[in-house]
Amino acid sequence: MSEARYRSLRELPGVHALAAGTAMCAGCGGLEALHEVLDVLGTRTVVINAAGCMTLLASYPFTPFHGSWLYTSMASAPAGAQGVRDALDLLRSRGRIGADDDLTAVVLSGDGSAYGMGLSATSAAIERGLDFIYLCYDNEGYGNTGQQTSAATPHGARTPTSPGPAGHAGEKKDLFDVWVAHRPRYAATVIGAEPLDLARKVQRAASLAGPRLILALAPCPTGWDYDPMHGVDIGRLAVRTGIWPLKEYVDGAVVHTHVPHPRLPVEAYLSTQGRFRHLFEPLRNDALIGEIQQRVDRYWQNVG
């Protein structure tokens, strides 16, 4: 590939494309990822936002965006992106706007939408080859309504709807693999705490056309129950414990952009968050911690 590539953090854009003054919680990891993504994409975007925490970004008359923003129901942001793309294409084909005035359609959705209600619309949009970028900020629950369990909630995490002594009994859906099974133009996992890796992936996505999907793990102080100041550490631990693999799918192959070595034990990550507190007190639940460790070990055994 011959496109430009950030070589170091130093080269990242110094000018922010997302303004301050939003209603997101102090220390929101989703907001961190979003501004890092938009800093690379620039301001010539239309953000199509599925209902979730981030729809509070633009609450009339205030907006942090320099470009346009459109609010959709939880299930239909990719359909909204189709409408925006079609409208822009029509304007271009009729000569009403030139290439310089074109905009990038960017879907912004939480995991509740991306892994659940919005998955069918996403699947159809990839199938149609829609030219758009999809950003999911994955805070592993229905954050806006109080962090109820979603299809992205990890096994063992306690949520208001999985309150028992073992937390959530289900499994986190592998959305990246679901996306990749559609053979999109590009897909990647990122995290705001690794900004260079994130920026390179967004830069690559921006250089391509067609369906490009980005999945950002989004540490959430409110839903995960930790002091906001630890957000970046927790993000880095998600990567260093191997819980959040950083990878990309391009030209038909999945490549890990970072292989943690040595891999830290998962409890280094789990013990930082109140949603996993029941694994450590009043009694340590070695069986469940071991089970979570095994899942991660198995994942990395299968990485080439």
């Binding site: 110094g14 900004p195 007190e281």
Partner: protein
């Protein structure tokens, strides 16, 4: 009926404070209403919580406009209209240690004012969610109708969900707050009775539909969120020590979730205190530890960064 209004920020445990006080009043034989009130904003933003306690079913609804007791979680909140509705009979209780008479004069507060007495002044150093338990304990003593044991049980029950460590810390702080205000016990009196008690239910009120251009208006200006001073959310203030800063501004400007740090290449970055929410992510992320966290104690004024 007692009307108690708490003022704090999301993350200071104020919703829990109202639940603790409400539970304790309920256990003391009162009918109770307890409701937190948030805007669209998330954790960190100023919020309030409203507790009513009466001797019969409470009909009055909504935010408390004429409180008998206002509880304020820290001095920075005094800038934000917390005095609203206070009368000569009401009491303002601040989690702070400025002498009460000085504060009363400075604020031109019509009601009586309570702060921590000198011997308990270290209580105001409490941070985070624990502030709620402390304020609940102080408020319980000021009402004078809640026993120490009842308060203790309410603290343990309402904080239990946050883990055993938090519940234990909350219990200790709540009781410390209760004990510290012994000299002001029972200072708050009950306000007027519930004016709605015994009323027939009201007729339906029909609201006319708004035109779509009003109900779903377009915004044509860019980046208007900069008009919102999220700096008011802050309880801790990050301060960059220029002598220690190694001018690697791509680190802090990128990792600040709120785009609240700006830098020109090679210069010490500037923190935008109008908008910095005080999450302190930058404090831990700065490689040479050049950013310190100071308590945000001063009320916002022209001279102080907010």
């Amino acid at each position: 009926m007692y009307r108690i209004r708490f003022h704090g920020r999301g993350g200071q445990g104020i919703r829990t404070a109202a639940s603790v006080l409400g539970s304790a009043l309920f256990a003391s034989g009162r009918e109770v209403q307890d409701a937190p009130r948030y805007g669209a904003e998330r954790r960190g933003a100023p919020m309030s919580a409203h507790v009513r306690a009466g001797r019969s079913v409470i009909v009055e609804r909504g935010a408390i406009a004429q409180p008998d007791l206002v509880v304020v979680a820290d001095p920075t909140l005094l800038a934000g209209g917390v005095l609203q509705g206070l009368s000569a009979q009401s009491v303002l209780f601040l989690n702070g240690s400025e002498p009460a008479d000085e504060l009363r004069t400075r604020l031109a507060c019509p009601g009586r004012v309570v702060t921590w007495p000198g011997a308990a002044r270290e209580l105001e150093e409490t941070t985070g969610v624990a502030i709620g338990a402390l304020c609940a304990g102080g408020a319980a003593r000021l009402l004078g109708v809640i026993s120490r044991t009842t308060l203790e049980q309410a603290l343990l029950a309402e904080i239990a969900g946050h883990g055993s460590g938090a519940a234990e810390a909350g219990r200790a702080l709540g009781l410390a707050g209760f004990d510290a205000l012994a000299d002001s016990a029972g200072m708050v009196g009950e306000g007027v009775d519930d004016p709605g008690a015994g009323d027939a239910p009201p007729d339906w009120v029909r609201l006319a539909l708004d035109d779509a251009s009003l109900a779903a208006p377009d915004v044509f200006r860019e980046a208007t969120s900069e008009l919102v001073q999220t700096g008011l959310w802050r309880t801790s203030r990050p301060v960059i020590d220029a002598a220690l800063c190694s001018r690697c501004s791509w680190v802090c400007t990128t990792l600040c979730p709120d785009s609240a740090i700006h830098a020109k290449a090679g210069e010490v970055p500037q923190i935008d205190y109008e908008h910095c929410k005080g999450c302190l992510v930058c404090v831990l992320a700065c490689p040479p530890h050049a950013i310190r966290a100071l308590p945000e104690r001063q009320p916002a004024t022209a001279g102080n960064p907010r």
